[in-house]
């Protein structure tokens, strides 16, 4: 195959294609693990895919990219996620 020269308009996969979107946050989701039942709903519904599951199945938020939308807090059945004001 022809090697396509760099002069052709292409993009390559990259983490943070829009930058460190964690800086966009106004409110920050904080998980109160004591309340967490590991139901994983936050993990399923985080619209940004910024919640990982630990080995022990506890959710962990990737604050580098979490945009602070609050969906996780909203879907958490035990109100284990609190949205707190970002301190900047």
């Amino acid at each position: 195959m022809i090697k396509v020269p760099a002069e052709v308009p292409l993009a390559r996969p990259a983490l943070g294609s829009a930058g460190r979107t964690g800086t966009w946050r106004v409110l920050k989701p904080v998980i109160h693990y004591d309340k967490c039942t590991r139901c994983r709903l936050c993990f399923f519904y985080c619209v940004e895919n910024t919640i990982d599951l630990e080995k022990n199945l506890y959710p962990r938020i990737d604050y580098d990219y979490c945009k602070g939308c609050g969906v996780c807090a909203q879907v958490c059945p035990t109100a284990a996620i609190e949205m707190v004001k970002e301190v900047k």
């Binding site: 993009a11 996969p13 943070g16 294609s17 940004e48 895919n49 990219y65």
Partner: protein, 285 residues
């Protein structure tokens, strides 16, 4: 994670998750065809893209045709892959409708997913044919006067092998439909209601809640039409009984775009939903 973090979607926008859930099922051998839309922007820029599968950007009206060509070429070289169009409601039901209808009529072997945020969001919330009755947009300042264009039904009328509706709030249902669609040959169509916090004027945290209420109120029925056979799916199966459905106001009241609906209009909407479900009962029964 097939769609990487840190992309340009608005906070609370479901699109990244919707895409990721899709790609989880279709896998690495997927080509995404993305027409002009919010998803274009979400797909990054010349410095990098969030997708781990090839993305073919497309002119607004061109994606069903580009996908037809891609699939033909992949087939010619013996490559098994799923070609997915990922298009907004405007690209699907307005400017691209002839192209879509053409691909459906030809029964092209592609999976077309319309993520329907019910307006042109990328250009800043203008009415589309799929904007619902009564909704405010910047081009319908006092609410849209026409009804939402029934695109899934229109595609089904083309006699394609698979048509389904889906919702981000019912992820398993959505992914099950993608899985089914993936294994069918021919034209497959999934229509995904996709809330948009700035466009629908709801808090970014309510995305899933709003999507759920759309289904629970019956405004957004979950169903599939497999080779002509209609079937309600997931929770919608239980909603043919009007009493089981929440009143539409529960859905409408969360969204600023419906803030100026009159009581009459709300009733019209409720009646229309009820009428639709009556038909479903017939189809199912």
């Amino acid at each position: 994670m097939m769609l990487m973090r840190g992309n340009a979607a608005c906070p609370g926008c479901p699109i990244p998750r919707e895409l990721d859930a899709l790609l989880e099922v279709t896998g690495e051998k997927t080509v995404l065809v993305v027409p002009a839309s919010c998803s274009t922007v979400i797909m990054g820029d010349s410095r990098g893209m969030p997708s781990r599968v090839p993305v073919v950007h497309s002119a607004f009206a061109a994606s069903p045709a580009i996908a037809s060509g891609l699939k033909s070429a992949l087939e010619a070289r013996g490559e098994k892959a799923t070609v997915v169009v990922w298009a907004g409601d405007g690209g699907t039901g307005d400017i691209g409708f002839a192209s879509l209808s053409g691909a459906a009529e030809r029964n092209e072997d592609i999976l077309y997913v319309c993520y329907d945020n019910e307006a042109y969001m990328n250009t800043g919330i203008q009415r589309s044919g799929l904007t619902p009755f009564g909704a405010w947009t910047t081009t319908t300042p006092s609410g849209k006067r026409e009804w939402k264009k029934p695109v899934p039904q229109l595609i089904a009328e083309h006699g394609v092998p698979y048509v389904a509706t889906a919702s981000i709030a019912y992820l398993f249902d959505y992914q099950a439909k993608v899985r089914k669609a993936k294994d069918i040959t021919g034209f497959r169509y999934i229509h995904l209601l996709s809330p948009c916090p700035p466009g629908w004027r709801h808090d970014s945290s309510l995305t899933v809640e709003v999507a759920k209420l759309a289904v629970e109120t019956g405004i957004w029925p979950l169903y599939e039409i497999e080779r002509g056979k209609f079937r309600l799916t997931s929770i919608s199966k239980t909603l043919t009984d009007k009493k089981k459905r929440k009143p539409v106001t529960e859905y409408l009241k969360l969204q600023g775009r419906f803030a100026n609906l009159t009581q009459e209009q709300i009733k019209e909407i409720q009646d229309e939903v009820d009428r639709m479900w009556d038909e479903f009962s017939k189809l199912e029964g």
